[in-house]
Point group: C2
Chain length 402, copies 2
Amino acid sequence: MGIIVQKFGGSSVANVERLELVTEHILKEVEKGNKVVVVVSAQGKTTDRLIAEEAEITKNPNRREHDVLVSVGEQITIAKLAMLLTEKKHKAISLTGWQIPIITNSEFSNSRIRYIHNKTIEEYLDAGNIVIVAGFQGVDEIGNITTFGRGGSDTTAVALAASLNAERCDIFTDVDGVYTSDPRIVPTVEKLKSVSYDEMLEMSSMGAKVLHNRCVEIGKKYNVPIYVKSTFERDSIGTLVDDKNLEDLVINGVTKDDYISRITIAGLDNKIGKTCELFQILSKNLINVDVIAQSFGEHINRDIAFTVKMNDLQKTLEVLEENKDLLGAREILHSENLAKVSIIGVGIANKPGVAASMFEALYENNINMHMISTSEIKISVLVNSKDADLAVKAIHKKFFGK
Amino acid sequence: MGIIVQKFGGSSVANVERLELVTEHILKEVEKGNKVVVVVSAQGKTTDRLIAEEAEITKNPNRREHDVLVSVGEQITIAKLAMLLTEKKHKAISLTGWQIPIITNSEFSNSRIRYIHNKTIEEYLDAGNIVIVAGFQGVDEIGNITTFGRGGSDTTAVALAASLNAERCDIFTDVDGVYTSDPRIVPTVEKLKSVSYDEMLEMSSMGAKVLHNRCVEIGKKYNVPIYVKSTFERDSIGTLVDDKNLEDLVINGVTKDDYISRITIAGLDNKIGKTCELFQILSKNLINVDVIAQSFGEHINRDIAFTVKMNDLQKTLEVLEENKDLLGAREILHSENLAKVSIIGVGIANKPGVAASMFEALYENNINMHMISTSEIKISVLVNSKDADLAVKAIHKKFFGK
């Protein structure tokens, strides 16, 4: 039998009762004769609590030391889970990021995995151990503790599955798979049996909070089948993320991303390079731009519009105001309280009627679109926040019939 | 200027205000041009809390995983202290046991230091850093996290001072030095200007809870001057533990060790080896025997008495009962509610009147002695618990005049 990697997030390991549930999922695979590697996050609110304590000391923590601090959360979980398994007479051993080691670059709090040494894990697996790995953390080449940023345990799990050539990676969470939309908005959502990596990437970057984006990228690159399953259901089948079993659905999901602002620069200097300069300035100021489009205004080809998160709006406006002359901008306009509603599906590129159906659903419900952006597998529109839920529902009904 | 090692215990780093105090002590040495290595314990009750959480999972934790769990306490402290120092614009860096590394044997929870790699610390010191080290922890030769047992941060500090050839090691605590007795018993105690390693060893193993025994042993072996100082006094001179500046005091301290039981084995088989067998049996059952003496009874040379902690009494009696026939013992007797009162001083061996003075003090106060034991630098007597405080006071008055 092969190697199975299982990942359990913070709410799945929050207390002893839940750790008991986790051991059931682990032992189910062990009983099948599989070698099991388990990746866990910090328990419940542990990381939040550490960060609150840090805030008492400094508003601007040394980034190296921040990683030393927050990495203890996962270390606590691995020790407890390994103890619980040994208490149940199973061989189990915990490993931190540096003990494996998972070697990363030195960008603290947002480090990237360079490579994983398989030897230690493989030896413990061969000796009959369940190997419990601290998610979210690694070590750089000179021995500093690094972390991957929030949600990074998903990345640990899929990267380990890739490195160990595991049969699959099961991501256990509090929902039992990936849905066609947010069930809080569309009560009639359907669970997807499978979804492609690219669709998952689009969905997770747009509000579907199921999987960490980097883990999907790694899954895609190394072709790791990823199952999204529920910790709280004994026989959750979940959703399979891979590129093998694509269903013939045109679209696989409708998502909403709220708290969006649109900024329009009217009369941007027409010189070559000014558009480039604009986005360089924004990037230098760490402002994340999402959708970019030429706006449909009176000054065709001279206006440019883009969206930023609402909490970046003030800073963006300040930066643009400072550089107004440099950019040769005539006017800087903005709209707040917008939401981005998107449909995602590998079928979109090949079915030209999809966009029309989407717009039709909005039109039938008197919902204004403020901006449109499309890609191979995604169509996004900006609508007023107050219309967003209705938009999601209407589009879902149009494509899924309910 | 040289290297100074400073150690701050759990109550000295319990919260942000106390960490601020700690930075004052650190920066005082930095300002003198010294290179400073700081060893810290877990904050306040952190370790107790982790152990309570562990107890929810198992009463008999896997020892390797126990060390993985409890070692996070110190890791939290080093990150916070290093952050606080960098917040104050000082160069500081935290190091865990494995980052240094401090190599230990593999006896989890009670591991011994094998050697310390100086290179990492020295490089950081040379680059102008204050180096903040997690106390109480190391790593074994195959990369397992190990811990030294309670109070082990003292050991880390003195071992680092020895390895780095530091000028001295300052142990900051909540009292400002070593006293001639417990101030809660004898209000007129005096603070000692200096005390020898051996005296400190005797005192710390007998109730004076100032220094961890193993740290004193290392200090003695490598001749590290150790200062015991108060975290809460800006200019605490403290007590120097070394063998250079012995004052000409006959005795340096009066201590009390409570909750002692005495066990007497009447009519132990007189064959050679039976005494040895007795203590092997006790040791195999992890029972710590303290004072051993031939008792003054009717069966001279055939009775043996020894003391154990009161919470080991029940187990000891059971073990002895099981082995009664093997040992050829006629009867097993015990007394509870005893206390050991001791005087300690390098002068004892050379001044035969010391024991007489001690016994005189007890006699004058009608205090019965149940057992006497002496060494080169120590005389201990067993008294009833209810008489113990009076005994300490009377002896203190006899030797210190108050």
